[in-house]
Amino acid sequence: MSKGVKQLKFSKYLGLRILTWALTIWIGVTFIFFVPRMFPSDPVENMIGRIQSRSGQMDPVEMEALRKTLRVQFGLEGSLMEQYLSFLKKGLLQFDFGPSLMSFPTPVGDIIKTYLPYTLGLMLVTTVMAWLIGNFIGLQAGFRKHRLSSKILEAVAICIYPVPYFIVALILQIVFAFILNWFPLQSTIVTMGGFGMFIRSLIRASILPAISLLLLGTGWWIISMKSLSGTVAEEDFVLYARYRGLPETRIGRSYVLRNSIITQVTALAMSLGGVFSGSIMTEIIFGYPGVGTLIQKAILQSDYNMILGCITISIVAISTATLIVDLIYPLIDPRIRYS
């Protein structure tokens, strides 16, 4: 095949792939736009109720005027279709989701911007660390399965992995925060009072959630990598490498690892895309200020705009992660060709 034809094939593939990427995002946000609007609670009525409970009964005419103003300001004026179209235009293209309804009138974008770094920092670091540690141990366990250390590590992983996440998290919280008092029960990150203070409070708030995520994440990677590399280690080409007298480290690295890591790279990208949904439980249990707690609060108070904002970002992240994996796949697996 000539280079020109190859290039043409690749651009065709890339075009199609980007089209599916856009389509996925569109379908996802459409769902997430309509589903909250089917909730039985209405944010405008919630707000009016809150105002009434504070300042007593209101004049019906006044109330109607207030209702109208609130609708306009919340971005809920017009028919469902009009709201949808304006959301597509502003939300998807400019990431402008309007004001938050629960902390009116701060824009959703600003709130997410303050919380996002905490979630991303915690989740990305723990996901990547768990991946690295888990795959390293899993490779040892699968490739050198007769070693005692591999067996012990694998047994530990198998014991930890099936425990539900919230149990592990609660045990950590009870032991280290409640009984031993080493960490705060409710994390607060001090943004004022200098950089040193900030970093210290950030680390104090992140250690327990990070450990809980690492424990379970590593367990999963160990188990999956162990079975992957265990299968690869029995393949003919590994046996033949051994019969050729290759050193074990070389076999482990360029024969077993290289062939089993392909699947793990895909899985890593998938779990990176899912950091937002994965962070909800962690953040709630440890009271960690991030997008997870934000989503929870938004759902409880039917803050349409906030839900839309958080989940749109999550959808875009997952689909982009998949897109990137698809594009880098040929670099790690030469058998894949675009066509």
Binding site: Y243, R244, G245, L246, R258, I332, R335
Partner: protein, 331 residues
């Protein structure tokens, strides 16, 4: 070169040990092509594994040993079972049965060649120089040097087999073991591969051991051969002599079953099946299928002995003059 002494091996199974090789005693010489023939399950591959010293669970050596000895670049060497691993690739190499799947699927062939060349053999040269040597070697074998930049999945089955042979012979080992090198290839490619193996052997003047169930391959390629039956040799000697005048009834029937040009008679197969290795018959293992078997055959294990100079057979009646019915079966 390769000397097998009193070798017996068995596989450990849950129902007890299964003896697969019994009391083998033979020698493979320098500068010859030695063939190992036999039906599936008779122990050909097991024997080859033991020769190459791949003794992994559940296979175990019960008694005896294999000695690999010889001389390379003026330096004598000698390894025996358990140590032959140290000679891998330098003095003895192996062309495996499932040649289609023995190359790492995701690295280029050049890195697999580099992997197979021991550090001490290329410590005085750069990677480019080593690859240049490999490229020259490939061209010597009429293979394109562009192959080095290819991935295994880009090659056809025959080409992959050729590359593996090149890989196995690059270090000019004293012994090359080839396990069914042409199985699963079409006849044209088979011929090419066999020619390549023969040419390499002629040039290196080393020892080539070919395991095959295909008697045609042995006839064309090997100088001496051994015919295995149920875990030991039935007959061993020069290939042309065996084909001309088989001694053991099993060999006679095997060769009698081969089709010949110009002969339109229907071929007769060997009735019955080889015995299960878990429960071998007492006495001669071929006795239940042997048309000449007498009472003695079912009671006494025949000795594997030199019937004529260089001709060994395991039959009570081997060399006892020509019996009347031998011809009838052998033709």
């Amino acid at each position: 070169m390769l000397k097998v002494e009193n070798l017996s091996t068995s596989y450990k199974t849950i129902d007890g040990d299964v003896q697969v090789l019994q009391n083998l005693n033979f020698e493979i010489y320098e500068n010859e092509i030695f063939g190992i023939a036999g039906e599936s399950g008779c122990g050909k591959t097991t024997l080859l594994k033991v020769l190459y010293d791949i003794i992994d669970f559940p296979l175990q050596i019960e008694q005896g040993r294999v000695v690999l000895s010889g001389e390379k670049n003026g330096k004598p060497f000698s390894y025996e079972s358990g140590r032959i691993r140290d000679a891998w690739w330098k003095h003895i190499s192996y062309v495996p049965q499932a040649a289609q799947s023995v190359l790492n699927p995701i690295t280029r062939l050049k890195s697999q060649f580099l992997d197979s060349i021991p550090e001490e053999d290329r410590k005085n040269e750069t990677e480019e120089e080593t690859l240049k040597r490999v490229a020259d070697y490939l061209e010597e074998l009429s293979l394109s040097k562009d192959l080095l930049d290819a991935f295994p999945f880009q090659l056809s089955g025959g080409m992959r087999q050729r590359v593996i042979i090149a890989l196995a012979t690059f270090m000019s080992p004293n012994v090359v073991l080839a396990d069914e090198p042409t199985t699963a290839l079409d006849v044209v490619v088979q011929r090419g591969i066999l020619m390549m193996l023969m040419r390499l052997q002629r040039e290196l003047k080393n020892t080539l051991v070919v395991v095959s169930h295909d008697m045609g391959v042995h006839y064309q390629v090997t100088t001496r051969m051994g015919i295995m039956y149920s875990g030991s040799f039935a007959e061993l000697g020069r290939t042309d002599e065996i084909f001309e005048d088989p001694i053991h009834p099993y060999t006679q029937m095997l060769i009698g079953a081969l089709p010949r040009v110009g002969d339109s008679r229907a071929r007769v197969g060997i009735p019955g099946r080889p015995p299960a290795l878990t429960d071998p018959p007492p006495g001669c293992r071929f006795a239940p299928r042997c048309p000449h078997a007498v009472k003695r055959c079912t009671e006494e294990i025949p000795e594997f002995r030199e019937v004529r100079p260089g001709r060994f057979a395991a039959c009570h009646f081997a060399g006892e003059g020509e019996r009347d019915d031998t011809e009838a079966v052998g033709s």
